[in-house]
Amino acid sequence: MTNATKNRLIDKTFLMFGILATLFGIVILCIFIGNIFADGISRLSFDFLESLPSRKPEKAGILTAWTGTLWILGLTTLVAFPLGVGAGIYLEEYAKKGWLSNILEINIANLAGVPSIIYGLLGLEIFVRVMGLGGSLLAGSFTLSLLILPIIIVSTREAIKAVPKSIKEAAFALGATKWQAIWSQILPASMGGILTGVILSISRAIGETAPLIVVGALAYVPFVAKSPMDEFTVLPIQIFNWVSRPQHGFIVNAAAAILILLSITFVMNGIAVYLRNRWQKKVKW
């Protein structure tokens, strides 16, 4: 065998491996979604969305769960967005480069890798006990905010870094203060990237179960939360609860709830992709 044919063979082998590796994930996901669809689609109805949880599977619904998820989504955004973006701007634009900022940087990167249950324990101690918030929506969303802050900070910094320095210099040269340059030039130019990071991290947050169980989200909440201080449940916890029951009816319910949760996630990711594309089209350097 000549060298050339040998090299081509290696090339083809890798190509095949690459195709298989790509298909693997997609095929598994398709089988999974197909399965969930087959199980759950028959249960999807307005009735299912509007019913409170119940001991009888055919009567049980996810009203408290999806409203809880929306509450958590809204509150977490309100808390994590300003804190994360603020910290990102500070670290990128204001903080002096030195050992302190290096330590901060490494720590933030490490925090992004801390298991979510640890954040749950932190939330339990600080928000539930010390601050006395109890197992409320507020305690839950504070905890999830902590969880996603590092991701928002990192993606904010990346988005700001992508704005050419020349834009900032132009603003400074016209007599802009740092904040004026950030507010009027850097943020508008990096907003697409920042929002993409925020949305993706929040869509991760609404899929979290463990930290919320730790701070005391309940599996059975017979009422819709009306204020941030109310007790709550969310879709993943409801699903977790249902799949652990013996009756087949609850398995069907869980499948239907998964469909709802998946569609919320897909919609959010869709928005993130849309924002990114729109931003790239608008800003060309």
């Binding site: 603003a171 016209l174 007599g175 009027s184």
Partner: protein, 272 residues
């Protein structure tokens, strides 16, 4: 020749220039600049005269851009930047601790090497500098934008498309827009860092014409590597080499009878 000799020489030749205003606009005294350990500028002393075009020339890395950026304190944000010495503009120390840097930069505008309009409309680009001062008067802003665009001879080309994105303009138009943007805040000094190096010859010619007009009202300091440009439109020329000011004289003298060997070698293209 020692540094003192060079200084004496420079002083002598400057007094020979008759057609220039003798009013000193910018005065630099004993400027040393460090980037961390690296000494980028060594004991720079020079006066820049009002309503003239003064050029900084020299091979890349010679410190000419660094010195230019000292004049509106654009180096302040660079980590490790340190400056010794004193720069005075209109007899005021610009590195004095009570100086509001933003006010200084309104007075000392800057145009960059690569056109860098904001990703906004043409109008918003020119209006930006006035708006950040808190000016809300629409009529005033509109008049100022129109005047500035007329000053750079861009008005006729864009007056029907003021809402159009500035990034859709050609490179030369963008650079003239950037100059208009600078003029709109009414500076008295304009610093230009190789403003035509990214442009085609026609756009370059337009900007040169512009410089000729602008120097009647403004003091212009320009970093350039375009030797022809230097000879054509520039009154005073400073040659920098390895962080040192080697020679400062009228452009005519620098190009026809340079006193320093290094200057002559650079001008004739033997190095750099």
């Amino acid at each position: 020749m020692t540094t003192t000799d060079i200084k004496e020489n420079n002083k002598a030749s400057i007094t020979e220039i008759d057609n220039l205003s003798k009013n000193i606009k910018i005065e630099a005294r004993n400027i040393d600049v460090f980037y961390s350990e690296f000494k980028a500028l060594k004991d720079i002393n020079m006066n820049i005269y009002e309503n003239s075009v003064t050029a900084f020339i020299g091979p890349s890395g010679c410190g000419k851009s660094t010195f230019l950026r000292c004049l509106n304190r654009m180096n302040d944000y660079i980590d490790g930047f340190k400056m010794k010495g004193e720069i005075l503009i209109d007899n005021k120390k610009i590195y004095w601790k009570n100086v509001v840097v933003e006010e200084l930069r309104k007075q000392v505008g800057m145009v960059f090497q690569k056109p860098n309009p904001f990703p906004k409309s043409i109008f918003d680009n020119v209006a930006y500098g006035i708006r950040i001062q808190g000016v809300k008067d629409k009529k005033f802003i509109e008049e100022r934008v129109e005047l500035s665009l007329k000053q750079v001879a861009l008005w006729d080309e864009v007056k029907d498309n003021l809402k159009k994105g500035a990034l859709a303009l050609s490179g030369g138009q963008q650079q003239r827009l950037c100059i208009a943007r600078t003029l709109a805040v009414e500076p008295s000094v304009i610093l230009m860092d190789e403003p035509t190096s990214a442009l085609d010859p026609i756009s370059t010619a337009k900007i040169e014409e512009l410089l000729f007009e602008l120097k009647k009202q403004y003091t212009i300091v320009i970093v350039t590597n375009n030797m022809k440009q230097t000879a054509r439109i520039i009154d005073m020329t400073t040659f920098y080499y390895m962080g040192e000011l080697i020679e400062y004289d009228s452009t005519k003298n620098i190009f026809t009878k340079p006193k320093q060997e290094k200057t002559q070698n650079y001008i004739t293209g033997r190095f750099g």
